[in-house]
Structures are given as structure tokens and as C-alpha cells.
């Protein structure tokens, strides 16, 4: 039992340190934000379609959107698999 107590204590300390670091970083980051390539999207995208977000997800980064839809499909298939459809061949 004492083993789990020590482990919990260690995890607690690590989580506390991590959250403190995270909050500290947030105070710094709000004046370090740099638009970079997003600004280019706002300049270029107006020639393609009026909504910049759709320009990003369906033109510049359409391949990510393909990945997203594949994930949705995979999740559906894996859920079906977990409920017992299409488990491995002859074993069932």
C-alpha cells in the first residue's frame, strides 16, 4: 500500500510543478504571439474564397482534413470491432 502512496505523492508533485510552469508560460506568451504564415493566408485567401477558415481547411491544408475524415471512419470501424464484428478469422 505504501508503494501506491509514494507513487501518488510523486505524481502529485510532478503535476503541481507542471501546472505551475504552464501558468507561468501563459503569462509570457500573450505578448509573444507572432502571426507568421496566418497573415499570408489572409492576404492570399481573399482571391480564393470569402471564408478564410474554409480556405485553410479545404485548400491549403486539405490533406489534414482527409486525415480527419479517415480518423472518423477508423474510430467507427474500431468501435464495431470492439463490439465483436470482424474479430480475427477462425478463432471465434
Amino acid at each position: 500500500m505504501s508503494n501506491t502512496t509514494i507513487r501518488n505523492l510523486l505524481a502529485g508533485i510532478l503535476t503541481a510543478i507542471f501546472s505551475a510552469t504552464l501558468f507561468d508560460a501563459i503569462f509570457h506568451i500573450s505578448d509573444m504571439i507572432y502571426p507568421g504564415v496566418s497573415f499570408i493566408y489572409n492576404t492570399l485567401g481573399t482571391q480564393i474564397a470569402p471564408n478564410m477558415v474554409t480556405v485553410v481547411i479545404f485548400d491549403f491544408r486539405a490533406y489534414d482534413t482527409l486525415g480527419e475524415s479517415i480518423i472518423l471512419l477508423t474510430a467507427g470501424l474500431v468501435v464495431l470491432l470492439i463490439f465483436g464484428r470482424g474479430l480475427l478469422g477462425d478463432k471465434r
Partner: protein
């Protein structure tokens, strides 16, 4: 033929979709899966090196800061990508071949997941875009969980859920790190981020930049199964079908090197980065081997040994010189081949005896001599015995750590190699050489031919790489010279 670069991802992806849609027609599915699987290692061999910009958006100059920007997702294909995609493609072909000959009725979702995993790792190593890598990393995680859950081995669901819960903590952390990088540099393209860091646009000592390193590093530890995730990673290998495990470990190795190369290009200027990698790699080496010593389930044993071997890769990359990174990447290639050989070989034993406990096995040499000899060579290659391929990469690693001025690390690496050898020989002795226990039934059970064939192919690669390592190392060395 630069047009072939996106096809390396698209072909397995489309194959996966078509197979899952038409899995009712058994024979057609089998033939189709076989044909696509043969194409997988061939496409990277035919393709030319180069860059591919999706949507045709070439990089453009930003007038404000006079810097290049990549607006669209970029794939870069060099010798390194070619050799790793070729290796994983060949392995996928062998695994699918074993699977198709093992079961009379194929399972559509399982084939879908095998192809999907291959597509995901291919995209991960090709891409030059950190968010795109994250998307395919998530696809890979789901595919791994599916492969484990489909195996219907005892406790596979528990292992899948455990892996999933840890993964759902690890991958948002990685996304948070990507978010920090996006905030600092305004881009998710690795070349742009690296340029911004090297040109001083980002303050490399700021705590935010360090935190982004820590978060992505945490995601990397989860992806590659280094400590503290070593038990879960070896656990999912042991809960998958043996041929599935052979593929899963190659996924792990490739996701590990693709993430670590991206991190290397961004964070190489930070001294703490290399210290972190070397620390976790040494931890993985020691923990992997020492935990492997205590296992009685030989699949679990190989899993832990594989984690220990991952430490060698990390060590090579963490030392940070051209020679050591080449050695680490060469070790990664060797590990993919050798561990796959071991998993398939031990899988053949599981197939023939229905037993995974080493204490209940014995005397298998007389019944399965081919498997025994190939497994012995594979184990020796993993432990680093000349003239096999594991020896060449480990020798390079030891030389690299000596020339960097860390003799302690080279001594440690040699000791871990010896320990690997001891663990392997101990297991091998109890399984193959010790007299057969009385209650073990072995008569009339045969090893599938497909497994022997797959092991033979992998063995040829091991021996060829051991005799002619220059074929691979020269090309990798050129690649490493490009990113340093």
C-alpha cells in the same frame, strides 16, 4: 517521377478503404490485398527524390521579414525516407502474406487497420509539417489499438484501453507543444520553424520555448515507448497477434525516428535537448534489458528487448554528431528488420504449440529446426554478433560515443548488448535445447510455410546489411549532413 510521392500514402489508404467496403467478397479481397501489398515496397524504389507541395503552393517570400514561408503541407522524399518506407512496405507485405495464408476467411477491418497503420507511418516520416504529423500520429494510435483489440487474446481489451488512456494524455500534450510553437513562430512547417529559431526570431532561451520542447518530448516518449511508457508498449506487443506485433514494432520505430528528427531540427541548438534524449535512452536500455530478464512470456520478453534496442537509437541521435546520428538511424533500420524476424519466429512457435510460457516449453529444436536456426541468427544479430547487421550499427554507436568523449556510454552500450545476448540465450535454451517436458504435445503440428518464407526474406536482409553496411550508411550520412 515525383508524382509518386503522395501515392506512397494514398495507395495503402485507398486499399484500406476499398477492402473494408468490399470485405464480403473473400477471394477478391485476398487477391486485391496481396497485389496492393506487393506494390508498397516497389513505389518508393521507383520514385525520385524531391519535394511535393500539396495543392501546388510553392514556398513564398514574406516581404515583412524577408523569410521563406510554406503555406501548404510539404512532403520531402530523400534517401532516408526511401529506405524506411521501403522497409516498412516490405514488412507490411510479409505480414499481410502471413495473415492471408493463415486464415481462410479474412477480416476486412483487420486488413483495413494494417494498411492504415502503414499509410500513417509513411505520412509521418514523409511530412515536413508538424501538425500533419500529429494527425497521422493519432490515426496510428487508433490503428494500433484496433490491431490489439482485434486479436482476441486474453486481456487484449484491457491493454488496449490502458494504451488509449495514456495516449489520450500524451497526444494532447504534444498538441499543446505544437500550439506553443505555432504561437511563437506562426507556422507549423518544420523548415519555417527551424529557420525562425536559427535566425533569432524566437528567443531560444525563453521558458515558453523550453516548455514546448518538454511537451513534445513527452508525446515522443509515449509514441516510442521509452520509460515511463515501456511496460505498456511491450504489453501491446504481447497482446497482438505475432505478425501484428512485428508490424506494430516497426510502427513504433518509425514514429520514434520521425518525431525525433523533427525535434532535432527545431531544438538542436538547446544543449538540454541532447541531455534529455541520452538520459531517457540509457534508462530505456537498462530497464528494457533488466525487465526482459524476469519475463516468462517470451512475447513480453521480446517486447522489452525491443524497448531496450530503442534506447540505442535514441543514444545515437542524442550524441548529436553526424556519425552518431547515422549510426542511430542505421540501428533503427536494423531493429525494424531483426525484431520483426524475432516476433514472426516466436509467433511460429506460438502457432505450433499454443503456449507462450517458456517454463512449459522445451526440446523444440528437433521438431522445428528451420525456425530454431533462423531465430538463433536473429537473436545473435540483435545482440550484436559479427558479421550480422546489429553488430555493424552497434559498433558504429560505440565508436561514435568514444569519439564524442563519453567512454562510459560506450561501456554501458557494450554491457547492455551482452545482457541482451544473455537474456536471449537463456530463453532460447529453455525453449529449444532443454529436454522436452512430458505434458507438451508437439506431434503433427506444423509451422506455416508463409512464416518460414517471411523469416527467410528478413534473414537475407540482416545478413546483407551486415556484410555491406555502406550501401545504407553512406546515403543516411548524406541526409544527416543536410539537417545538421
Amino acid at each position: 517521377m515525383n508524382e509518386l510521392i503522395p501515392l506512397m500514402v494514398i495507395v495503402p489508404l485507398m486499399a484500406a478503404l476499398l477492402i473494408s467496403a468490399f470485405s464480403k467478397f473473400n477471394t477478391v479481397t485476398k487477391i486485391f490485398a496481396f497485389v496492393v501489398a506487393i506494390c508498397l515496397p516497389i513505389i518508393p524504389l521507383l520514385s525520385n527524390y524531391g519535394l511535393h507541395y500539396f495543392g501546388g503552393y510553392e514556398p513564398m517570400i514574406n516581404d515583412a521579414v524577408k523569410m521563406m514561408y510554406h503555406p501548404a503541407i510539404t512532403y520531402s522524399f530523400t534517401f532516408l525516407q526511401q529506405i524506411f518506407i521501403g522497409a516498412v512496405g516490405l514488412l507490411t507485405f510479409l505480414v499481410i502474406f502471413i495473415y492471408l495464408t493463415k486464415y481462410r476467411k479474412v477480416s476486412g477491418p483487420y486488413l483495413f487497420l494494417l494498411f492504415l497503420g502503414t499509410a500513417a507511418v509513411t505520412a509521418m516520416i514523409l511530412t515536413d509539417d508538424i501538425f500533419h504529423m500529429f494527425v497521422f500520429f493519432e490515426i496510428l494510435a487508433l490503428a494500433q489499438v484496433g490491431i490489439v483489440a482485434a486479436s482476441s487474446i486474453d486481456y487484449s481489451y484491457e491493454m488496449a484501453l490502458k494504451y488509449m488512456v495514456l495516449g489520450s494524455i500524451g497526444s494532447p500534450m504534444m498538441l499543446l507543444g505544437i500550439g506553443f510553437l505555432l504561437a511563437l513562430t506562426g507556422s507549423v512547417n518544420v523548415t519555417d520553424i527551424a529557420a525562425a529559431v536559427h535566425n533569432g526570431l524566437v528567443d531560444a532561451t525563453s521558458p515558453v520555448f523550453l516548455l514546448s520542447l518538454a511537451l513534445i518530448f513527452f508525446g515522443w516518449l509515449y509514441a516510442s515507448g521509452l520509460p515511463p511508457f515501456h511496460t505498456i508498449k511491450s504489453g501491446i506487443y504481447s497482446k497482438a497477434e505475432p505478425h501484428g506485433a512485428a508490424l506494430l514494432q516497426s510502427f513504433t520505430v518509425i514514429s520514434m525516428i520521425s518525431i525525433v528528427l523533427i525535434m532535432f531540427r527545431i531544438y538542436a541548438s538547446l544543449p538540454i535537448f541532447e541531455v534529455l534524449i541520452v538520459f531517457f535512452s540509457i534508462l530505456a536500455m537498462i530497464l528494457g534489458v533488466s525487465l526482459a530478464l524476469t519475463q516468462t512470456d517470451f512475447r513480453r520478453m521480446i517486447g522489452f528487448l525491443a524497448v531496450g534496442e530503442l534506447g540505442f537509437i535514441g543514444l545515437g541521435i542524442g550524441l548529436g554528431t553526424n556519425f552518431s546520428i547515422t549510426a542511430g538511424l542505421f540501428q533503427a533500420l536494423n531493429e525494424i528488420v531483426i525484431t520483426a524476424l524475432l516476433f514472426i519466429g516466436f509467433g511460429a512457435i506460438v502457432n505450433a504449440t499454443n503456449e507462450v510460457d517458456t517454463r512449459k516449453l522445451g526440446g523444440l529444436l528437433a521438431y522445428h529446426p528451420k525456425v530454431a536456426i533462423m531465430l538463433l541468427i536473429g537473436g545473435l544479430a540483435m545482440a550484436g554478433v559479427p558479421p550480422l547487421s546489429g553488430f555493424q550499427s552497434k559498433l558504429m554507436l560505440v565508436q561514435a560515443s568514444l569519439s564524442c568523449g563519453f567512454p562510459e556510454i560506450s561501456i554501458l552500450a557494450i554491457m547492455v548488448s551482452i545482457a541482451t545476448f544473455v537474456v536471449f540465450v537463456k530463453t532460447y535454451y529453455t525453449m529449444f535445447l532443454k529436454p522436452k517436458p512430458n505434458d507438451l504435445e508437439l506431434e503433427g503440428k506444423d509451422v506455416p510455410r508463409a512464416m518460414i518464407f517471411a523469416m527467410g526474406v528478413l534473414l537475407i536482409i540482416v545478413i546483407l546489411l551486415g556484410i555491406f553496411p555502406d550501401v545504407v550508411t553512406n546515403g543516411i550520412s548524406n541526409f544527416v549532413g543536410g539537417i545538421l
